[in-house]
């Protein structure tokens, strides 16, 4: 049993982040800041059409422009063209159309890339792409998923009949459960398409390294290690000749968990031309070219008894793939398929997902990746079932959730949740929220017919973190594993290099990983340097996504640190002239049991191992420890989020008046970093609920092509969040941690929508489309009035 970590050590302290001074002083190394002499600048000719045949590409105008060194279309790029790879064919018959870096036959979404120009400076490259003349023959665009699957629809790929990529089934037995039910409710939810919205746009620099065969690629990516493998597989460049560096990376949210065509093109042309190639995207390009996320139509059925016990759940999804499959496009909705049961007990669970191609930007993982969609569905359905039964929504949840003494618990979806305490998190959240007063105010506003109505939004969520046990990934047909690596080296001076395979892009790993190692080794946090995100310096790793870095990578750090101590022990025993097993290790020093005056510090041992003048026989110089950990299971953070929502029924404007988030992420390494992750996650989830949404017109033109139309909330739009944590350590993770990177974004979206519907339910409203813009809210009210009249 994992203990609750006490805050006596360095673990659990809200230390200020090591990273921040550098960020605040602008001493950052963004990819676009990397200057390589002689670099060519790449600019891309993107399709203005969603679906068209390419009749002709004329590069001559661009090639005649000043500063232009080369220009290519698919034909002239020839063998240098390579495919973006999808590593997750989810079924044996998943349709996997090729996704070439430059498309030659057709364009399949606005932003698809037809040609590239390389010039001596960015301005000349930008000028020259306007001089590339492309002759398009427009084709019918496939935009809506339901239309896409209708007979007679145009096809995005000829190989995908009915534009269907795959059909995936899980579970069963719903019909039997429904037959026994007193109540069956059915709802259709639309979980709309969003963008990742990272602050730093993507950027790439590819450079040949002198006379060697090595190519170095700097990229604003979350996944340097995975990228090295897939770029090698795609381009044929031997893996050992590829070095991938993710320098300072300004946010990812899943949007940089990707292999992008711009990385392929920069790499191939730098190698071919023998010159560095640089590319930096604009926000306008980001909106059409970086992958989008979510975009599901969810048909959900819930069967229950009249006293509110859930008997079964049936989930039927249409998941929009977009125009091509990127790295884990087909698998992203399936990352949610185990989570539709949420925290609830039920007898039967049945799931089907159909992946659909459309002439839109490809989708893939964005913060939560499948779990936000699942959590939205079950938490919305719990409120709908409560309304149907005339029951308090929290009471309904209480009757169905797994009680704390029932763990470990295997859900109807087949996962075994190791631990949790939904009662404790909910009790704390209710205490902070002031539920009774808010319900009283809600009653007053309803009775007085106030134009501003009050709603209470509940989300008692859980999610799965710590991607992932490699065997499980294999069973799901994912190509890679889910382990993580750490090497810890003691330097002669007693300082420490901690090499991690995780790849932070704003999370604060340098601070948190130092805290873990410091706590175990007794070496000050400031003496520990965390090395990451460079396959040359940190060769092994699986990178950062899916709230895995601490849950999996943290275990590797612990194991590596423990090994450092064990590797130092024989040297200490030799110096202290005792048996190795007679030594205690605490506070960075070995001491002899029963004679604590006889001791030696790890720092002194580091020098002894470096000088190697007096090592015991058979002990090699230098002290280090390395570990590669494959997680025993997923981890299951949970929490109770409560929102008080004001809805102006005359304008449809929604205001989040207060928001309480009580999360249980297990043991916390740095509570201040946890707090930051919760705040950012909650804000992002509120963004999806109220503001964000990618919209296309019927021809596949992107209507939300800039941040003036695609709205992201700022501090001015959000309340001050009230947060707290309960601590129920994971029993399957050696540090008792669970992960927190996505929790807020998963939890908050349904809390907000539940709050809006709760405010408006007396008016007959049972759902509101996301984003719950003034117009969508007002329309929901008008539709309910119309239906009631």
């Amino acid at each position: 049993m994992t203990e609750i970590l006490e805050s006596a050590g360095v673990i659990g302290r809200p230390l200020r982040r090591k990273e921040d001074a550098k960020l605040l002083h602008g001493r950052t190394n963004w990819t676009d800041n990397i200057q390589v002499p002689g670099a060519l600048h790449m600019a891309l000719v993107r399709s203005p059409m969603a679906h068209a045949r390419i009749k002709k590409v004329d590069l001559s105008g661009a090639l005649a422009m000043p500063g232009v060194v080369a220009a290519y279309d698919a034909a002239s790029l020839g063998d240098l063209n390579a495919n973006v790879l999808c590593v997750w064919p989810v079924t044996d018959d998943t349709v996997m159309p090729p996704f070439p870096a430059l498309t030659g036959d057709k364009v399949r979404h606005v932003g698809d890339v037809v040609a590239i120009v390389l010039a001596t400076d960015a301005k000349s490259a930008e000028d020259a792409i306007a001089a590339v003349d492309v002759d398009y023959e427009p084709l019918d665009a496939v935009v809506d998923m339901i239309d896409a699957m209708s007979p007679g629809s145009a096809l995005v790929h000829d190989a995908a009949a009915n534009n269907t990529c795959y059909v995936y089934n899980l579970g069963g037995g719903y019909a039997d459960a429904a037959a026994k039910a007193d109540v069956v409710i059915k709802r259709r939810f639309v979980n709309q398409r969003i963008v990742a919205g990272f602050m730093e746009p993507r950027a790439v620099v590819a450079a040949p390294m002198g006379m060697s065969d090595e190519m170095t690629l700097w990229s604003a990516t979350q996944i340097p290690h995975v990228l090295r493998v897939v770029l090698s597989l795609s381009t044929g460049i031997p893996e050992q000749n590829l070095r991938i560096v993710a320098p300072d990376v300004g946010g990812g949210f899943g949007g940089k968990l990707q292999m992008y065509r711009e990385e392929i093109l920069a790499l191939q042309l730098a190698r071919h031309l023998g010159r560095p190639v640089k590319w930096n995207e604009t926000r306008s390009e980001d909106m059409v070219a970086s992958h989008h996320g979510r975009d599901q139509i969810q048909d959900i059925e819930l069967a229950a008894t009249k006293d509110g016990r859930i008997l079964g759940m049936n989930v039927t999804l249409l998941a929009n793939m977009g125009a091509y499959l990127q790295i884990i496009t087909p698998g992203t909705p399936l990352l949610g398929m185990f989570m539709y049961c949420g925290i609830y007990k039920m007898d039967a669970y049945q799931f089907q997902c159909t992946g659909v191609f459309t002439n839109t930007t490809p989708t893939d993982a964005i913060r939560g990746a499948g779990r936000p969609e699942a959590t939205f569905a079950i938490e919305r359905m719990m409120d709908e079932l409560a309304a149907e039964l005339g029951m308090d929504p929290m009471e309904l949840r209480t009757r169905n959730w797994i009680q704390h003494h029932e763990f470990p618990f295997t859900t109807a979806a087949g996962l075994t949740y190791d631990t949790g305490n939904y009662e404790a998190a909910t009790a704390r959240a209710l205490e902070l929220f002031g539920m009774d007063e808010l319900r009283a105010e809600q009653k007053r506003r309803r009775e007085s017919g106030d134009p501003v109505q009050l709603g209470i939004g509940i989300s008692t969520f859980t999610e799965m973190c710590g991607l992932a046990p490699s065997r499980t990934l294999g069973a799901l047909k994912y190509a890679a594993g889910g382990w993580e690596h750490c090497t810890i080296r003691l330097l002669p001076s007693g300082k420490v290099e901690l090499v991690t395979g995780t790849s932070p892009h704003g999370q604060g790993h340098e601070t948190a990983w130092s805290q873990i190692a410091s706590d175990i080794l007794g070496i000050p946090v400031e003496d520990i340097d965390v090395i990451h995100s460079d396959t040359g310096r940190a060769p092994y790793g699986m990178d950062t996504y899916g709230s895995r870095s601490l849950a999996v990578g943290g275990q590797a750090i612990k194991k590596a640190a423990d090994r450092v101590i064990e590797n130092a022990r024989p040297i200490a025993a030799h110096q202290l002239e005792c048996a190795a097993e007679d030594l205690d290790f605490a506070n960075g020093a070995f001491s002899v049991k029963g004679d604590p005056e006889k001791s030696v510090t790890l720092g002194a041992l580091a020098w002894a191992a470096f000088s190697a003048h007096n090592l015991p026989d058979g002990i090699e110089p230098m002290i280090s420890g390395a570990a590669t950990v494959d997680p025993e299971d997923f981890s299951y953070p949970h929490g109770t989020h409560l929102a008080a929502i004001e809805v102006d029924t005359e304008t449809g404007k929604v205001r989040v008046r207060s928001y309480v988030a009580v999360d249980d992420v297990g043991n916390q390494i740095n509570p201040m970093i946890v707090e930051g992750q919760v705040h950012g996650g909650v804000a992002m989830g509120i963004g999806q609920a109220l503001y964000e949404g990618v919209e296309y017109d019927a021809d596949g033109n992107l209507l939300t092509a800039s941040l003036a139309d695609y709205l992201i909330p700022s501090a001015a739009d959000l309340p001050s969040f009230t947060t707290d944590r309960t601590v129920t350590p994971s029993t399957t993770h050696s540090l008792g941690t669970k992960g927190v990177g996505e929790a807020g974004a998963i939890a908050s979206t349904p809390a907000i929508i539940n709050g809006i519907v709760d405010a408006l339910r007396p008016m007959g409203v049972t759902d509101v489309l996301m984003p719950a813009s003034p117009q969508n809210v007002w329309r929901a009210i008008q539709a309910a009035k119309g239906a009631g009249a």
Binding site: A122, T651, Y691, L711, A716, S773, R779
Partner: protein, 284 residues
């Protein structure tokens, strides 16, 4: 995000600016605070051949008391307008609307004259100028002319300012003692108005004696709701205000976009007008 190549001139007088515009022909563009022009350049939605930077022209700066009017130089920033004691005393509605322009950073850079000349239908100050009967002084090769607000705003992003002309200043008749409120509905704090209602009223004995109402984003340019203004005279109750506001959308043909269709905009015009007037009048 790199603008196309352009020439740049920075005149120090209005006459020099006009000369530069004449020399530049149809492709010359004026740079004021740059808050609308720079995105257009960076997105290459416009590729002017010459940029005439007016930020160093002294005559276009400053807010002055001209007796029965307040004259605001076209180069005065939104922040200066919103904080000006003269504006706050005599043009309460302009101060109220200006506080809603975009965000603090943009208000420190953007100019009121630039926003008027840009004439975005979602702009916050054009309906104020229209409702308050402002007049615009425009300099061109033939000298200066003054255009009333009712003739200044022509169409989407189009005003009476010709390609070789410069907006020099805007003169607002004093509305001393009038109270005001600007009711704006936008989706995020920094976003453009879906619709907004600008209302300023003169109260007499608890009733509205005179009212001026302007509407934002209810058509190709700002709209003055004269029928509502007339119906409000004598109103002293919420019911009377609401009844008058019912006419706010009459005769309008607002645009449709991803944020709102025409039906919703008309509904908002009525609702926001009611609220703006009630708050301006202090009636609830």
């Amino acid at each position: 995000m790199i603008p196309a190549k352009f020439d740049y001139v920075r005149p120090s007088t209005v006459d020099e600016a006009v000369a530069a515009l004449v020399a530049g022909g149809d492709d010359a563009k004026i740079l004021g605070g740059g808050q609308s022009l720079m995105p257009v350049l960076r997105l290459r939605m416009g590729e002017p051949s010459v940029i005439v930077d007016t930020t160093r022209i002294d005559e276009m700066k400053g807010i002055t008391d001209a007796g029965d009017a307040i004259v605001i130089g076209a180069g005065v920033t939104h922040d200066e307008v919103a904080k000006s004691p003269l504006v706050r005393e005599h043009l309460a509605l302009l101060a109220a609307a200006t506080e809603h322009v975009a965000d603090r950073q943009i208000r420190h850079r953007g100019t009121m004259g630039g926003a008027m000349a840009h004439a975005d239908p979602a702009g916050d100050q054009p309906p104020v100028a229209l409702a308050m009967g402002a007049s615009f002084t425009i300099a061109g090769p033939g000298g200066r002319r003054t255009v009333p607000a009712s003739e200044f705003f022509v169409d989407y992003f189009t005003t009476a300012v010709g390609p070789d002309e410069v907006l020099v200043s805007v003169s607002f008749p004093k509305h001393t003692g009038w109270s005001a409120h600007y009711e704006k509905l936008n989706r995020t704090a920094q976003a453009w108005a879906i619709v907004a209602a600008a209302a300023t009223v003169r109260m007499d004995g608890g009733a509205i004696a005179e009212a001026r109402i302007g509407l934002t984003n209810m058509g190709p340019g700002p709209i003055r709701a004269t029928a509502v203004e007339q119906a409000l005279v004598g109103a002293s109750t919420m019911a009377a205000i609401a009844a008058a506001a019912e006419q706010a959308a009459e005769g309008t043909s607002p645009t449709e976009d991803i944020h709102a269709d025409a039906e919703f905009r008309k509904h908002l015009a009525r609702t926001l007008t009611k609220r703006a007037v009630a708050k301006a009048a202090g009636i609830s």
